[in-house]
């Protein structure tokens, strides 16, 4: 069976391997140069307390010289779906398209074993490819993460466990769509659409609610943002909402805030001083940075569960001979 699976899927595996290899090596090369900007390693500059002159200089150079690469990383949002759907879509669809399912399932290997071997092998390849790529990408982003934290969308979605779960999700949906639609290309399209829809819905709606966010309420500092020492949340935390409250702690609507702004304008005073004098407080709703792994686990579990359900549907269909 190993030989057969390799023979049938080697084209996809090789193309994806090449893709991961090329981008992985590019990231390794650029990453080595970026890491070299930090003589003691980027971890030395972690935390505002340890942010000395040298670190600030390093971060500035990092942003100047490699900031564009960081922006390009957004393209790798699609890496999990490319890998997962490319391997999953043809698994059953190609056999059904070409009629070879009738050949494959009338040999002495029962179809459930055939299916189990294929699913295990190709899901394994999916996880290995995206896992390798994610490891490289996580390493590449380390200096950026020290500076910006890893809770923002451009970091959280590319690191840790979630890319592997996204890829398995795409694999499962693509395989199931292939079993139902009986054609590879539409199955790939369905997986792509499902991936985009699920990622957006989960990222924007579900993720902020994985845990109860913390709220910090502090008076607006008179001197503006410069003297916000010790003020939470920091850059590494994930701020999901911010606004203003009056002295009693009641949240101001945006029109109320705009009125205050206009009043400060009319009075000709500095806005911060104006707000400070009226006891207006800054409100920030956020998830602290140390929730990163908890959030990763929740989101990975969410996508992995859907993947498992999709695979379950495939197994059920094949066992019951619906296809």
């Amino acid at each position: 069976m190993t030989w057969l699976i390799w023979r049938q899927h080697r084209t996809e595996v090789c193309v994806l391997g090449l893709l991961v290899g090329v981008f992985g090596i590019a990231l390794l090369v650029l990453g080595t140069q970026a890491h070299d900007l930090f003589p003691g390693g980027p971890a030395r500059c972690a935390g505002e307390a340890r942010l000395d002159e040298a670190c600030v200089a390093s971060f500035r150079r990092l942003d100047d010289e490699y900031g564009f690469v960081e922006n390009l990383l957004a393209a790798f949002y699609l890496m999990p779906v490319v890998i997962g759907a490319f391997l999953g879509a043809p698994l059953l669809a190609r056999e059904l398209e070409d009629g070879t399912w009738q050949l494959a399932w009338t040999q002495a290997v029962p179809r459930t074993r055939w299916l189990a071997a294929k699913l295990a092998a190709l899901a394994g390849v999916t996880a290995a490819l995206i896992g390798t790529f994610t490891a490289v990408l996580t390493w590449f982003r380390r200096p950026f993460d020290v500076w910006e934290g890893r809770f923002q969308y451009d970091a959280f979605d590319l690191q840790g466990l979630v890319p592997v779960a996204y890829a398995l999700f795409a694999f499962g949906i693509a395989t199931a769509a292939g079993a139902v639609l009986r054609r590879s290309l539409p199955a790939f399209g369905v997986a792509f659409g499902a991936f985009l829809a699920a990622r957006m819905a989960v990222g924007l709606l579900a993720r902020p609610a994985y845990a109860t966010p913390l709220t910090s309420v502090e008076p607006v500092p008179a001197g503006g943002s410069e003297d916000r020492a010790g003020h939470r949340p920091g850059v590494a935390d994930w701020t999901i909402d911010h606004g203003y409250a009056d002295a009693a702690g009641r949240r101001l609507t945006s029109s109320e805030y705009l009125e205050l702004e206009a009043a400060a304008d009319r009075a000709g005073t500095n806005l911060n001083q104006f707000l400070h004098a009226r006891g207006v407080q800054q409100v920030e709703v956020y998830h602290p940075a140390d929730r990163f792994w908890a959030f990763q686990i929740v989101e990975a579990a969410l996508f992995a569960t859907v993947a498992a359900v999709a695979i379950g549907v495939v197994v059920w269909r094949v066992r019951r001979r619906v296809v």
Partner: protein, 296 residues
């Protein structure tokens, strides 16, 4: 294989797709050994029946027993004893012929690679060619060699020659019949062409509109049936229960009857019937349940 064992037994088998019944109430008992033809028009349910026989589909009703085992279980052991050649003989088009043989070896404990290579060499089919580049006839031969290399006890073929040109068709049947002559294999194949069946087959199953309308040993069927030709009449001899078909010409009436060899009424002549005419008469017979829909 002991004589009297059944290669295939179905009991009340039906298969319903979303659009309706493709096969209903199919009860068959086909003996092991020899060649069985499954005949019927397109959409009669032949493919459905064959897929049920090899375990590719599960029946909606009834049971299918192949070589004494319930095929729905699809155990390795049962699958190993069945060879199947699907319609249009699908192969992995990007595999070379040699890789197709390796596929057979990888997926079967019992696989006679030497036999397959020998057959293909005799036909002049090179092992290093991709199957997609072979002619239709050669692809059919590769698929047949693959099925035969399993040394199956039951070989099932779905319209094996339908897509082949006359020459390839002849060559294919020759190889198939050669294999039958060599070993103990029971062959079940479907066809919508009735022509030439008599020469090749021992047993016949006629399927129409999802139902079995005739089944039996061909020699027996030909002995039981005969044509009676007599003066044109509205009623015919008093045997209407046994009359399969009545054809009137200007002056004569021809009856196809299934009456064994009862004495012929005065004024009537008995003639043997050709297999092709017999099958066509059964396919023309009205009154078959119309709720069955074809799904080929």
């Amino acid at each position: 294989m002991t004589t009297g064992e059944f290669a295939l037994r179905t009991d009340g088998v039906g298969k319903r797709y979303r659009k309706g019944w493709a096969l209903r109430d199919c009860t068959l008992a086909l003996p092991a050994g020899g060649v069985i033809a499954l005949v019927g028009p397109n959409g009669a349910g032949k493919t459905t029946l064959l897929r049920l026989v090899v375990g590719l589909l599960a029946p909606s009703t009834g049971t299918v027993e192949v070589l004494g085992h319930d095929v729905t279980a699809s155990t390795s052991r049962t699958l190993a004893r069945i060879g199947f050649l699907a319609q249009d003989h699908p192969l992995y088009k990007r595999f070379t012929v040699a890789e197709m043989l390796r596929f057979g070896r990888a997926c079967n404990l019992r696989f006679d690679q030497g036999l397959a290579e020998h057959r293909l060499a005799k036909l002049g089919i090179p092992l290093d060619r991709r199957t997609g580049t072979l002619s239709g006839g050669q692809q059919a031969q590769v698929a047949l060699a693959l099925a035969l290399a399993k040394r199956p006890d039951l070989l099932v073929l779905d319209e094996p020659v339908a897509s082949l040109d006359p020459l390839a068709r002849h060559e294919f049947m020759q190889v198939l019949m050669g294999a039958v002559a060599e070993g103990d294999v029971t062959v079940l194949f479907s066809s919508h062409v009735v022509h030439e069946l008599e020469r090749v087959c021992d047993h016949l199953v006629v399927l129409d509109n999802g139902r079995v309308t005739l089944t039996g040993d061909i020699d027996t069927l030909l002995t039981e049936h005969r044509l009676l030709v007599g003066p044109r009449t509205a009623t015919g001899p008093e045997r209407s229960g046994a009359v399969v078909e009545t054809v009137h010409s200007e002056r004569h009436t021809t009856l196809l009857v299934r009456d064994g060899a009862l004495p012929v009424a005065p004024g009537w002549q008995a003639r043997p019937v050709a297999l092709e005419d017999l099958v066509l008469a059964y396919l023309r017979r009205p009154g078959v349940d119309v709720t069955a829909v074809g799904a080929a």
